[in-house]
């Protein structure tokens, strides 16, 4: 299970933080400070994994932004890297060529996307299409509250339910 995710800039400014384990503010600040420092000190060609305290930290830099996740010891580091990548893909699709500024100014959107992708520290939905649909239809809410119920039914993953048959049937 993912313990937390941090997004920070090359200058060490925190852009996004999501904690999946209950920690006090003081601990959060301490962890953030230490981790940002450690990760920023690493050179580009170095390994993306860190053993940090009793956790594994997986980080990756996209342009000026560092994505950094802490996972438990038995978790798969490589798939965590791909989680980061998938999140970036989602952001990119949503914002249309995402850049750090999008995340700075629309951080709440970035949080919404994250919540549709990861829930409680686990990958909730790994189909890119489904995540984006969920976000889109929630966004429609804002633009036209009156029609949302009607729109919802149509927008939600059209046709998928009928196509996909259950894998596991007894």
């Amino acid at each position: 299970m993912m313990q937390f995710m941090l997004l920070f800039s090359r200058q060490g400014k925190l852009r996004l933080q999501k904690w999946y384990v209950p920690l006090s503010d003081k601990e959060k600040k301490k962890i953030t400070r230490e981790l940002v420092q450690t990760v920023l000190a690493r050179k580009p060609k170095m390994c993306s994994f860190l053993e940090w305290r009793d956790l594994k930290v997986v980080y990756k830099r996209y342009a000026s932004l560092y994505f950094c996740c802490a996972v438990e010891n038995q978790d798969n580091e490589l798939i965590t890297l791909e989680i980061i990548h998938r999140y970036v893909e989602l952001l990119d699709k949503y914002f249309g060529s995402v850049c750090e500024l999008d995340i700075i100014f629309n951080f709440e959107k970035a949080y919404f996307i994250l919540d549709e992708f990861l829930l409680g520290g686990e990958a909730q939905e790994t189909s890119k299409k489904n995540v984006l649909k969920a976000i889109e239809q929630a966004d429609l809410l804002q633009e036209n509250v009156d029609f949302q119920t009607r729109l919802f039914a149509g927008v939600m993953v059209p046709g998928l339910a009928s196509e996909s048959s259950g894998l596991f049937q007894n």
């Binding site: 925190l14 996004l16 209950p22 920690l23 600040k29 060609k45 170095m46 390994c47 993306s48 994994f49 305290r53 996209y62 342009a63 000026s64 932004l65 038995q74 798969n76 580091e77 490589l78 798939i79 890297l81 791909e82 990548h85 998938r86 893909e89 990119d92 060529s97 995402v98 850049c99 750090e100 500024l101 100014f105 709440e108 949080y111 919404f112 919540d115 829930l119 409680g120 686990e122 990958a123 909730q124 939905e125 790994t126 189909s127 890119k128 299409k129 489904n130 969920a134 239809q137 929630a138 809410l141 919802f152 939600m156 998928l160 339910a161 996909s164 048959s165 259950g166 894998l167 007894n170």
Partner: protein
């Protein structure tokens, strides 16, 4: 990859001029948040930022509490509050408004409200209770998006106590027509399961329904729950293995909708989750493992594409293959995979390859040989993470021959490390290695060449460890170091040298710059100097005192260290100079504010003036007499039981906790029957005094059951794998296959192969380029690191024949002196079977039987047909023997004595008839009971002493017969029995003052301290009418089994007792396979031979209980595991489990 966000701005202030940027374009230029963010980025100092934010917060605070603020404005304010919080400024006033917004807002406002709540509060926050109603309402909403929002927030945080309030609603959502709702509901239940597992116990069948959901997303979500549940209890879900396998097969086969593909790999997240579940299910379970071999093979085969995501799957597969019951061709493929990882130029893969190698190497050290050069390169890798992992790998393959090099490498790393966590961990490991190997130098010095670890090495290594560790060290390292130093190893002379060397090196250290030495180290130095500086002849106490005084005067010295130094001075203040220094120092500290220091100063003052008192209080070499310590802490029993009654959790010893922890890990880090008991703390091993010289190696490691299982796989051969590295290093290769590998390999490997070609007679020798020097160094390093991991010694690494498993060869002490069969004293007596004796009693001495007994060797005795025993029971003592267990108890005696009989007893022939006669003198109440054979103790002028012990249900009675063979009466017979281990109380003495024929003495025995065999020493003195008093000494030995009785407890009682006992031992025993169910057969043998009570047998497990007379229980847990019997013994009595294990082994060996 990063092209996705390539055109991101690097500097924020420039953003103002960049309206064309997509990010900026989306901003509402007038938005207050936008202004705030811009404002912040324009600032140059932290101070200005603080001012701005405080102003902002004040304005937000004012607006949120105003009744005129609309929900829309509130949403805006909340976003700004989130921003301020994320910058690190507290906005706790807004928390309640966030909850209000979630409650009253609609659409996006509600969404922001929920988001703010999930960011502001954690699940322990009390305000969260106010959210419950809102969640309840939204869960019932007809608006699906509101339901989604509620479920999202619930899956992230929810007050534990309020789960029942919403549980029915969430459960209901599992049947919702929309898959997104079902999916979120499953994840909400997963969250509930994590924080309050018993709340969702009743809906386990609904989880199964979710697993069968037609939507792959819902099914995937349900796997989170299953992974968790299987981690906790794999046994309960074995029936699902086939289903998981079939899902994985379909996923791998591309049966999922294309939406779930990720970079054209079908649902990798789902695959990995399934493989993790399978590895948990297949662990230690051959049958289950067999179901999954095929699909794992398929996964390995399919995941060949060159993309990170396929590597992720491969890595998970490899972990799984090495976790489940081994299958050779899969292992071979996995080993190849690991090879690819290790050799990969991609650093992430290299790292994972090393990790996998670290794990696998314990099963197959040869794999390390293949990658020797890569490992050496990684050791000098610029990335510390890689370096660190390499050291971890080397730590696992340490043996006596390479320990010096490996420790040196670790110390090198320590010198550079700045991270406390790493330092602590590494320091512990170095100390473990250093302490583990010095004892071996004795046995290895004759055949070892250059790298023999010796005393100096040990002390120097520990010095470096202490000085590098700073003050972050775990306190048990200096403790065990001092313990090691004071208890010493096998040879007195070696001990003296070791201590002397320590003293010398510390004196040198203290004479130098002490400013940087950590306090821990200074304390160790003080103690050692105080204790052992007298060993050095050149060193005058005054010099040491002076050094210690200097230490005291230093400002940086902590008061704890000062008190250590004062104590050392107290031990040393001899002579006039010493006393005057002592006086001077004590005067300084006698008025110290620190009470401990004051106390020490007082002691110093008094003891320095009274040397006689000092010699008594602080005798030299006092450590030889161990202090009496009640290690079971029995005086706390009352307190503990009260606490338990009050509902406190029972105490778990550290290794049990550790074990539970390690069981939780998928990738078990326990060593597999290797030389290193890695996970055990050094203390627990040091404390256990092994009563036997039998291999305790498997008992040393944390989870011996696992070991034995994996031990099987160590014998697997990787046929396809060529041996590239032999004992001396690289072996010249001729096979073209190997060449291909080398060509692919990075250049260093290639150049070594070239070098080898020079040596070997390779036809293709291209150029005779001399190997560059660094290469040579590397090879040297390789040969020293991988020394002893060649094929032969790999056998020894497996812990079968190597001398390494025994961690500390401490001096034999206490009971161990009476343990070894070889240590019998000349006068001591051994027994033969009661069975035989009884038989002789009843049947007239038959020549054939007697002769059979005479030649009885250990084998012979045990081969006595079972029927004979039974016959004996029936013909002789059936009437008296009501307890069937007691009847069955004769075989163990014979079994045990069979062993002792191995050296032929000359008395035996003579004594048989005597035994027959003497047995008639047994007191009536003892005559029918099980007893040992009557054995002669000693013979004097006209007296013969014999003895036997009789098993009564509640006690052991020692019967001593004194036979007067002369005509004259013997007077004033005095019999004194004494034993360190036994409590001897006299039951009755023979009434006659002077003995004419036979006098009988009865003693009841109880065990004070358990040992494998307990021995009594006795003196007899007497007087004949004419003549001087005579005395003689004798000894008598009984096995501990004589004191063991069945303990009848119920399974529940057993459970509570089990938790309460602190001393334990684990070992693997061999199962008896004679047609019946092996567990039952084995337990029966043990029950009969050792007098145990079988509490319950469930499946492959059995629990037994017994007690040591009088009331010292010992519980035994048996589990059949991969053809062996894993035994776990627990008792409140120290050493009892160890001794019993020994007898269990004996009993089974002789069966």
């Amino acid at each position: 990859m990063s092209d996705v966000v390539e055109k991101t701005l690097t500097a924020l202030p420039s953003l103002l001029s960049l309206d064309s940027q997509p990010g900026a374009a989306k901003l509402s230029s007038t938005s207050k948040l936008g202004n705030l963010i811009r404002g912040i980025t324009e600032l140059t100092s932290k101070h200005e930022e603080e001012k701005l934010i405080h102003r902002e917060l004040a304005s937000i605070k004012e607006q949120v509490s105003s009744p005129n603020t609309s929900m829309r404005q509130m949403k805006e304010l909340m976003v700004r509050a989130i921003y301020c919080e994320s910058l690190g400024y507290e906005a706790s006033f807004s928390y309640i408004h966030a909850i209000k917004l979630a409650q009253q807002g609609t659409g996006l406002e509600k969404r922001v409200g929920y988001l703010a709540v999930s960011l502001f509060l954690n699940e322990n926050h009390e305000l969260l209770l106010l959210l419950v109603n809102t969640v309840l309402k939204d869960l019932q909403s007809t608006n699906l998006i509101e339901v989604c929002m509620a479920l999202t927030v619930v899956s992230q945080m929810f007050p534990k106590d309020m789960i029942p309030a919403i549980l029915p609603l969430v459960e209901e959502k599992l049947n919702h027509p929309k898959e997104i709702i079902r999916r979120k509901a499953v994840l909400a239940l997963y969250k509930f399961y994590l924080i309050a597992p018993n709340q969702v116990q009743h809906i386990h069948n609904k989880f199964r329904k979710a697993l069968c959901d037609k939507d792959p997303g819902v099914m995937t979500a349900s796997l989170h729950i299953y992974l968790q549940m299987i981690q906790e209890n794999a046994e309960g879900y074995k029936d699902l293995t086939a289903s998981f396998v079939s899902i994985l097969k379909q996923v791998v086969g591309g049966k999922l909708p294309i939406d779930f593909n990720y970079h054209s790999v079908p649902a990798p997240w789902l695959q990995i989750q399934l493989i993790r579940i399978l590895s948990l299910l297949g662990k230690n379970d051959q049958r289950t493992s067999e179901i999954m071999y095929e699909v794992l093979d398929e996964s390995l085969r399919r995941a060949e594409m060159n993309h990170n995501i396929t590597y992720a799957i491969l890595y998970e597969c490899v972990k799984c293959i090495y976790t489940i019951h081994p299958k050779s061709d899969l292992l071979e493929k996995a080993a190849k995979c690991i090879g690819n990882f290790v050799l990969s130029p991609k650093i992430n893969l290299k790292y994972l390859g090393l990790k996998a190698l670290t794990y696998v190497i314990q099963q197959d050290p040869k794999l390390a040989l293949q990658h020797q050069m890569t490992i050496i390169e990684c050791l000098d890798h610029p990335d510390l993470i890689i370096k660190r992992e390499t050291l971890e790998l080397l730590f696992r393959i340490t043996n006596t021959q390479n320990v010096v090099v490996i420790v040196e490498k670790m110390l090198e790393f320590l010198r550079m490390s700045t991270d406390d966590y790493t330092t602590i961990d590494l320091v512990g490991k170095v100390a473990e290695l250093a302490e583990k190997y010095p004892s071996d130098c004795v046995c290895f010095s004759y055949k070892n060449y250059t790298y023999a670890p010796d005393n100096e090495w040990f002390i120097e290594t520990m010095n470096t460890v202490f000085s590098l560790s700073g003050d972050t060290m775990q306190p048990d390292i200096p403790n065990s170091f001092l313990k090691l130093l004071s208890e010493g190893f096998e040879s007195v002379e070696e001990d003296r040298k070791l201590r002397l060397f320590a003293v010398d090196s510390y004196v040198t250290l203290l004479k130098g710059e002490t400013g940087k030495l950590p306090q821990f180290f200074l304390q160790v130095i003080s103690w050692v100097l105080g204790e052992y500086s007298h060993l050095s002849e050149e060193l005058k106490p005054a010099t040491v005192l002076e050094l210690l005084q200097k230490l005291l005067d230093r400002k940086q010295t902590s008061s704890e260290t000062k008190s250590w130094a004062l104590m050392a001075m107290t031990k040393l203040c001899e002579g006039r100079a010493g006393v005057s220094v002592a006086q001077q120092v004590s005067e300084t500290y006698i008025s110290s504010m620190d009470t401990v220091l004051r106390q020490r100063a007082q002691e110093l003052q008094h003891l320095s003036q009274d040397s006689e008192l000092r010699a008594r209080v602080l005798p030299r070499d006092a450590d030889l007499e161990p202090l009496e310590v009640d290690s079971s802490l029995s005086f706390l029993d009352g307190f503990v039981s009260e606490a338990l009654a009050a509902g406190a959790a029972p105490y778990k010893p550290p290794h049990q906790r550790q074990e539970e922890l390690s069981q939780a890990k998928v990738l078990s880090l326990e060593p597999y029957g290797l030389s290193l008991p890695i996970s055990m703390s050094s203390c627990s091993i040091a404390d256990r005094q092994s009563p036997t010289l039998l291999s305790m190696s498997s008992g040393l490691s944390g989870d011996s059951t696992d070991l034995s299982h994996k031990g099987g796989s160590t014998t697997l051969k990787f046929e396809g794998v060529k041996r590239v590295w032999g004992k001396e290093g690289y072996l010249a290769q001729k096979e073209s296959v190997e060449e291909a590998v080398q060509v692919e390999a990075p250049s260093p490997l290639r150049s070594t192969s070239q070098q080898a070609e020079v040596v070997g007679s390779h036809s293709q020798t291209p150029t005779l380029t001399p190997t560059p020097e660094p290469e040579q160094e590397k090879q040297q390093l390789a040969s020293s690191l991988f020394f002893g991991i060649s094929s032969q010694s790999s056998v020894c690494l497996m812990g079968k024949s190597g001398p390494t498993p025994q961690r500390f060869r401490r001096k034999a002490k206490g009971q161990s002196s009476s343990s070894g069969a070889t240590e019998q004293m000349s006068n001591s007596v051994v027994f033969t079977s009661t069975t035989v004796d009884n038989l002789l009693c009843n049947n007239p001495p038959d020549s054939t039987i007697t002769s059979e007994v005479d030649v009885s060797s250990s084998k012979h005795t045990s081969e006595l047909p079972q029927g004979l025993t039974a016959a004996n029971g029936t013909c002789d003592i059936e009437a008296e023997l009501t307890d069937s267990d007691l009847k069955g108890s004769s075989p163990p005696l014979s079994g045990d004595n069979g062993l002792e009989n191995a050296d032929p007893d000359p008395h035996e022939n003579l004594d048989k008839p005597q035994g027959v006669c003497l047995s008639s003198h047994l007191p009536a109440e003892l005559s029918g009971l099980c007893r040992s054979e009557i054995t002669p103790l000693c013979t004097l002028q006209n007296l013969d002493l014999s003895a036997c012990h009789v098993h009564r249900e509640d006690t052991i009675v020692l019967v001593v017969f004194i036979t007067n063979s002369s005509d004259s009466a013997v007077q004033h017979i005095r019999l004194d029995l004494d034993s360190e281990l036994l409590e001897v109380s006299c039951v009755s003495e023979s009434p006659a003052k002077d003995v004419r024929s036979v006098a009988v003495y009865l003693y009841s025995l109880t065990v004070r301290r358990p040992a494998v065999h307990v021995e009594l020493a006795g003196t007899v003195s007497y007087q004949v009418p004419v003549g001087t008093p005579q005395t003689a000494q004798f000894s008598y030995k009984l096995p501990l089994t004589a004191f063991i009785r069945p303990l009848t407890v119920s399974t529940e009682e057993y459970g509570t007792m089990w938790l309460a006992f602190s001393h334990d031992t684990k070992q693997n025993l061999t199962l008896i396979n004679d047609g019946q169910e092996p567990l039952v057969a084995t337990l029966n043998v043990l029950r009969k031979k050792l007098q145990l009570h079988v509490v319950e047998v469930i499946g492959v497990e059995g629990i037994l209980a017994c007690k040591l007379l009088q009331d010292q229980p010992c519980l035994m847990h048996f589990r059949v595991h991969e053809g062996a019997l894993a035994v776990w013994l627990r008792s409140p009595v120290p050493d009892l489990p160890d001794c019993l294990i020994y007898h269990c082994q004996r009993a089974l060996q002789e069966h």
